[in-house]
């Protein structure tokens, strides 16, 4: 579903991402981990078309992002750590607006259901300013899920959420994967990665350090046998 081949991003002489290749299959949750400045955010932003890679190709559902960005993006949803909302659109208008952008035909039927599912139906006429942090996050998720994306990318999805919100977010990720979506989750919370992800990609200084299930990674490094994910992460990144 998500194919990345030789992804490289340069900022002048700075190599933010260096020849990164990996794939995420439907139903899989790939955890993207690495220390600060490792290139996680650059990778994610390249994958959703925010920034253009210097080299390499990215395909979403068989559509190459560079050659066919509109159709590739139609299958994507990006959930940033901070919800990005328009100041003067109400909750319901955000969903209608998203429906127009993604060309969703049956949105009128899906919007009320989605609002109810995310407990936003009482706030349908509210502006973002009237919403709590958690509600804004829910709205951003609702906008992201409205077009039923087959590839989802989460950047620090638990930031600013209360315990109930965290639980719901984790459930959302797992359920979407169960329904066949390919998911990439970038986070510093190794516990979350361990709990939700089926595979882990460790990135350091822009380069892929390790990829696979924790068992597969440990198999390549017998010295890490019996260690926690935190210890494995620290050993792999030398931090």
């Amino acid at each position: 579903m998500i194919q990345v081949q030789g992804l490289t991003k340069l900022y002048g002489s700075l190599v933010a991402v260096d020849d990164l290749s990996f794939a995420v299959a439907p139903g899989e949750v790939l955890g993207l981990v690495g220390p600060n400045g490792a290139g996680k955010t650059t990778t994610l932003r390249s994958l959703v078309g925010i920034i253009r890679p210097t080299r390499g190709t990215i395909s979403i559902g068989g559509r190459e992002l560079e050659r066919d960005p509109v159709e590739a993006k139609r299958q994507l949803a990006f959930m940033p750590d901070e919800p990005r909302l328009f100041e003067y659109l109400t909750v319901e208008e955000h969903l209608r607006f998203t429906a127009r952008l993604y060309g969703i035909r049956d949105a009128d039927g899906r919007i009320p259901a989605l609002l109810r599912e995310l407990e936003l139906d009482q706030k349908a006429g509210a502006l973002p300013d009237e919403l709590s942090r958690g509600m804004k996050q829910k709205l951003a998720i609702a906008c992201g899920l409205l077009h039923d994306p087959t590839a989802l990318l989460f950047d620090e999805p638990l930031t600013g959420l209360d315990p109930a919100g965290m639980r719901r977010m984790k459930q959302t990720i797992v359920e979407r994967a169960r329904h066949g979506a390919a998911i990439i989750l970038s986070s510093h919370l190794l516990q979350l990665v361990e709990e939700v992800c089926t595979r882990v990609l460790v990135i350091h200084r822009g380069r892929l350090v390790a990829i696979g299930t924790i068992a597969e990674i440990v198999a390549t490094r017998p010295d890490l046998q019996g260690r926690s994910l935190e210890e494995i992460f620290l050993a792999l990144t030398g931090t």
């Binding site: 900022y11 959703v48 920034i51 990005r84 127009r100 949105a107």
Partner: protein, 578 residues
Amino acid sequence: MIGAALYLARRSLANGLRRRLARLRQPKYLVGFAVGLGYYYLMFLRPRFQSAGGGGLSGSAAEGIAILGLAALVGIGWLFGTSRSPLAFTPAETHYLFTAPLTRRQVLNFKLLRSQLALCLSSLLSVLLFSGGHFPATRVLRVLGLWLVFAALQMHSGVTALVRQSLEEHGVTAVRRRLGAIVVLAAVAGVAALTLRAQPPTLQRAFAVDAASGFDALAALLHQGTLGVLTWPLAALVRPALAPNLAAFAARLPAAVLVVALHYVWLVRSSTAFEEVAVESAERMAHRIAAWRSGRRPPPVAGAAKRARPPLTRLRSAGSPLRAIAWKNVQAEWRGSGVRLPVLIGIGVVVVAWVASLGEAAGTGLQVVAVLFLAVGAMTVVFGPYALRNDLRSDLQLWDLLKTYPLRGADLVAGEALGPVTVLTAVGWGCLLCAFVASLAFDVPGFPVPERGAVLLAAAIATPALLGITTLIQNAAVLFFPAWISLGPGRAVGIEMLGQRLMTVVGSQLLLAIALIPALIVGAVAIAIAGVAGVTGVWLAVPGAAGLAVTVGFEGMLAVAWLGRVFERSDPAAEIGG
């Protein structure tokens, strides 16, 4: 306390200057700095004319105008002001001052003291601006006098904000919040009307002589009877700034200081909710700063959550994405705009029409109304695209979100620009129509109603084309030079930023002129063809406007396609460091 405030002001100034100087190593800031410096020289320091103490107005006339100006500022502040205090604390100030062993009054004194440097600088620049490049020693008195005016205004705004904040916290609705101010202002207006009821003929005669005599008569009225009592604090405040010499300044100073002192006492006594207001403001500011630094949209400024106005039209969930983006931007204009500007313009139109109708040479009020609507319409076309910024200039704060949308860049750019163009076209057409309707009430020799209709039609055709191309140029500027344009409502400060803005404005004007050359040629050709076909007189303006609109429209389509490709290839991280 004073030592700490001075230390903070001194070090902040020094470090800020050092940082700005270091930034000049980058060519874009250096060029901006040079242009900004040139602008300041031209505006403030270049000798232009010998100022003759008030530019032809007598002292009393200048005082009258100053009193009216201050009264307007105070009235607008109470009617339309926000709960944002001009004495808002920065997050760092909140952290250090509110946790320090200081009384509330000491904290307030600290803030007032710290803000004096900025007020003093504002006074100096204001005096320099009107000095014509000449700065005799007596100008120092004007700077000091103006400083007192600014200090009193700052404290007055502080009181206004505290009162509003207190009412908001007690759940008082917006209308009821304004009720007190409305009652007081209505009472003042009533007193003014009673005082002035027999005066129009006197004023009319005075203005008929010349403007200076008219303003002299107006100033004399402001000092009469009850009105004189009401305007005394304003008069006391402005007199030192208008003093012709040191002796007069010294004589007028005590009364002005008394007004400032009374404002200080008022502010201190109003500050029961001071800490809460200050802390809340600081938190909001911290959120905004964090958002800007991460290249994202900051949270809204107002403290209380806004209620959504009902949409102008409901967005259907199926249809063109381009129109959805335009609809979003129209909603932002509709929901983001206050009633302040339309009300002020309305009051302005009525007042100007009334004043103009006083003079013998002026026409009827309706003639003036027609002219004013034409003027507002023209200003909408010329300045509107710079004022309405709900397009890429606002949405590039969400650059990363826009780039995730499954849209062609050209569709996105077109949708973004279409929003403000739609709003401005509606306003422009509205003004043209109002002017036309008002003109039906009177005769204009040699310009019958059908011909006025032809001009109306031509102007209506040209309006969206001109608005479209100007808006697109502004959007192009923000796409090509995002670091030079203020994204959203905020404005970066500094000489180099001013220079960058000036260059952008000049570049935009140049581009507009270039875009209009072929349009004017095609318009002229259309007029010639229509002339051959038998169209005559003012009616030739219609094909001319159509030729211009078609050409500008074609240019706009090319520009949209080009800007769309630029947007698709843009990198938000590289452009704004997000």
